[in-house]
Every structure is written in C-alpha cells, then in structure tokens.
C-alpha cells in the first residue's frame, strides 16, 4: 500500500539523529561494497608510495649512512602523510559521490541536517583510511621492518591531529563545491598537496627560510611531523607539539565549519543547490 496504517511508514521527528548519520554511512558502505575498483584504489596508491619511499630509504641508508635511516623516518613520514591526504580525500570523495550521483537534492530535502551529513563524511574518511592504510602498514613492517603500530599512544596523538586537519580541509572544500558546483572539484584533489612542502613532511622545519617557518608553524601537521622525527630520531615524545597541534586544529575546524555554513546558506540564496553541475 502507498499509504498504510500498519505503522511501517510512520516518520518521526528528531532534532539531531545518530540514525540519520548511520544511514548515510550505510549508503557509502553499500557503494564501496558494490565496486571492487573503488576498494582496490584505497590500497593501491598508499602501497605505491610506501614502496617507493621504503626503497629510497634503504638506498640512502646503505650508500650514505643516512642519519635518520635507522628510525625509518621516510616511511614514517609517508605513512603519516597518507593519513592526512587520504583522510581528506576519503571525506571529499564521499561528498563528491553525491554530486556525481545528482543526489544532493534528495539529501537536502530529507530530514538529514548538515551537521549529520558532515559527521557521516568524517566516519567514512576513517573507514576508507582503515581499509587503505592498515594493509599498507603491515606491508611496511614485512618489507622494511618499520612498525608504525609500535608507536602506540603516540600514534593515536599523531592520528587524531592529522585526521582533524584532513576533516577541516574536507569541510571547507565541500562548502566550495556546494556553492560553485563541480567546477570546484579540482580543489578536492589538489588542495592538500599545498601542505606537503609547507608542513615539512620529509624534512625539518629548520630547512625552510625564516619567513616560511612562521607560515609552517601555523599549520597543525607541522607539529605532527616534527613530533614524529623527535620520536624516531631522538626517542622523545613532545607533548607540547601535540598540544599546539590540537589547539590549532580546534581553530581551523571552527573556521572550516563557519565557511561551510556560510557557503551552504549562500548556495540557498543564489540557488546553486538546484544546479550543481559544472
């Protein structure tokens, strides 16, 4: 029956709903499950990166007695960079799936609230990251004897700070795509790469010219990569660096949410939610 008094179709109002967030996670899970190329891609690029930097580190270690070689700094750097980059990509791709499927109108007309949608995208970024990164960290251990998991709670601190940064970028980029359509899609793929030189993934901040160091210290991942070098080279955990990163992340997250809300409201004013093409 289209209308039924059986109670099957009774809809209930909830101001904030975990069920709506989990419905969106389920939607992305169905999508991942239906496409093995999507699943393969999650593992493919992190594997390529890890192999390239792993072998480079072996070569440097053998040829030059590379000071950081024993600590596995290069492999550590690439794995942590992938948490940042793939975390953001996981967030943004899930969002873009809605644009590609022309499903945004259905979602925006459903009781799903923007905060619940963003929460689902965050959950998906972690799920996609886990599918891609866990096998790669195990391969790094098998091939190069680098055990990322041995960092224990330090890894948790690194992960939390990197994933928070990735979500901030993902939220801001999603706002831009909502407002400007798929013409802004390129940002989702490229914006994180700006952080690659600035956050000193593969070298210490001291290498940068003075003025650029100031810029670098304004970015939360810089503290994580410096912290990682402190652990792997000097054997010291720098809690102060993690606290700074967390503080900056809180600031950037607030900024990203503000940008998203403003762009979402702008989209409603200019009518771009109706014409989300290029």
């Amino acid at each position: 029956m289209l209308y039924s008094t059986s109670g099957h179709g009774e809809a209930r109002y909830r101001s904030i709903s975990v069920a709506r967030t989990s419905a969106m996670v389920l939607r992305y899970w169905y999508l991942l499950r239906s496409s093995w190329p999507r699943l393969l891609e999650l593992v493919y690029w992190p594997t390529v990166q890890m192999l390239m930097w792993g072998f480079l580190q072996l070569y440097l270690d053998e040829q030059t007695g590379f000071v950081a070689g024993a600590g596995g700094v290069l492999i550590g750097s690439v794995l942590l960079w992938d948490i940042l980059f793939r975390g953001q990509l996981g967030f943004s791709i899930s969002f873009l799936e809605e644009m590609w499927a022309r499903n945004i109108g259905n979602l925006m007309m459903s009781p799903l609230r923007p905060g619940e949608f963003l929460a689902a995208l965050m959950a998906m970024s972690v799920i996609r990251l886990a599918i891609g990164m866990v096998p790669v960290t195990l391969m790094a251990y098998a091939l190069f004897s680098f055990n990322l998991w041995s960092l224990g709670l330090v890894l948790v601190a690194f992960f939390v700070n990197l994933i928070l940064t990735s979500w901030s970028i993902g939220i801001a980029v999603s706002g831009l795509v909502l407002r400007h359509g798929l013409g802004a899609e390129t940002l989702a793929w490229s914006i994180a790469f700006l952080l690659l030189p600035l956050t000193c993934v593969y070298y210490p901040v001291a290498v940068l010219p003075g003025w650029l160091q100031t810029v670098s210290w304004m970015l939360p991942p810089t503290y994580v990569f410096e912290g990682m070098r402190a652990v792997l080279i000097d054997g010291v955990f720098r809690a102060d660096l993690m606290a700074w990163a967390l503080g900056l992340n809180a600031l950037y997250m607030a900024l990203a949410v503000t940008i998203f809300v403003r762009l979402f409201n702008q989209s409603r004013r200019v009518g771009s939610l109706l014409s989300l093409g290029e």
Binding site: L2, Y3, S6, L26, R27, G105, S110, P111, G271, L274
Partner: protein, 260 residues
Amino acid sequence: MDTTVAGAPRRPAAEAVIEVDAIIKSYSGVRAVNGISFAIPRGSVTGLLGGNGAGKTTTIAMIMGLVLPTSGAIRVLGHDMARERHRVLHRINFESPYVEMPMRLTVRQNLTVFGRLYGIADVRGRVAELAEALDLVEVLDRPSGKLSAGQKTRVSLAKALVNMPEVLLLDEPTASLDPDTADWIRTRLEDYRRERGATILLASHNMREVERLCDDVIMMRTGAIVDRGAPDDLIERYGRDTLEDVFLDVARGRSATPVE
C-alpha cells in the same frame, strides 16, 4: 506585489498547508519570481502551470527551502521554510526527474537509506509495502542505474512516498514516460491522495495530467501569477475547449475572455 487573482477562490488561512506570502526571488538583479502569494488548502491537488522560465521550479524550490526568497515568507504545515525547515522535512517529500537516486545502489538499498533518513520505524516493512504497491518487487535487488525510465520513475515515487508525506511536491512527475506508464503513475498518485488525504503541489507541462489530477491551477508567466482557478473554470473563463488552449493563451499574454 500580491498577484493573487481577483475572483479566484480564496480559502481561509487556517486551512492552508502551504502559504506563500509575497515572495520575490532575484538572481543578479533579474526577478525570477515577482511577488507572488497563494495558499494551498489541506488535501487539495494544485497544479503550477507556466512556460519555460515562468518561475515554477524556483517557486517549488523555495517551498522546499532549497532556495531562499529574496523577500517574502513561505510556511509549510505552519513552519517557516527559511528558518525551521528541519522541523517539517520528515512530513513532506518530493519527486523530480532532475534529481536522481544513486545509480550503483540497488533499489532496496536506496529505499532503505531514505527510509532511515526519514526516521521510518519499520524500514524493511515499508520497503516491502512500497515495492508491492508500485510493482517493484522484481527489481528490488537491481542497481537503480540499470532500470528503464518507467522503473526509475516508480523508484523515485517510492522514495517520495517512503515517509507517507502529508505534503508532496512533484516537479514533472511523468516527464519522458510513455502514455501507459504515465497513466499508471497518475493512478497511483490519485490513490495516495485519496488514502492519505495528502496535499499535492504539481508542476507540469502536461495539460491532460493537470486536468485529471488537479482541483486548482495556478498559472504563471515571467515570475508572476496571471490566473488561478479550477481547470474547468479556467477553460470556461478563457472560452476554450482544453486547458492546453488556456495555457497557450496565458503563455502568449492573452487575458481571459470577460464573463458577461
């Protein structure tokens, strides 16, 4: 500017489920909707008619809260759609051929996701009910992207009815369907309206569809309401044989023949 047409049936405000009050929508200085007002009573089917660029889709988008009016107010089921649409979205739904369901997900998966988004108590039971009523049982486990146009429309309709909405907004619900399938969809809409007592606002270019489904028709041209009335009344007022002739008169700027 209130463009409510003199002589058109006015209904008491208390009955109104959708209230549109003097809304204007401008894009870069161009007025897409120019100060229209109307109220739609509970349980009625109202057609929104007009040529391309008349402002129908923008009006429906503003009623849904997807587009904010430049000025004026819209209330649906008593709630302001600019500020508190979240309070009412679980009681309304829409269907449009310009919005699609995710193509890689199966019909069952899509309906399950939307059932959960709408907070349906028994999603599995509701999906089964809809599949049976809309003849979707055999395609429930097929990807939505692999369905025919008619099947896709039925799936979109199932999505639109998943929460048994009190208010249903339909934008060209039978566009690009063959006459048989379109007729089948119209019958289902009539069934739903009768069973649920739902209020339906329908934008369409299909005059026979509007004549068959609608109690009341709002005619729009260049962002303004130029006439309103029951299909038979409009046909009589314009001295025409069909609503299509009335539509052509309105689209070409001709007024109704004065009633002696």
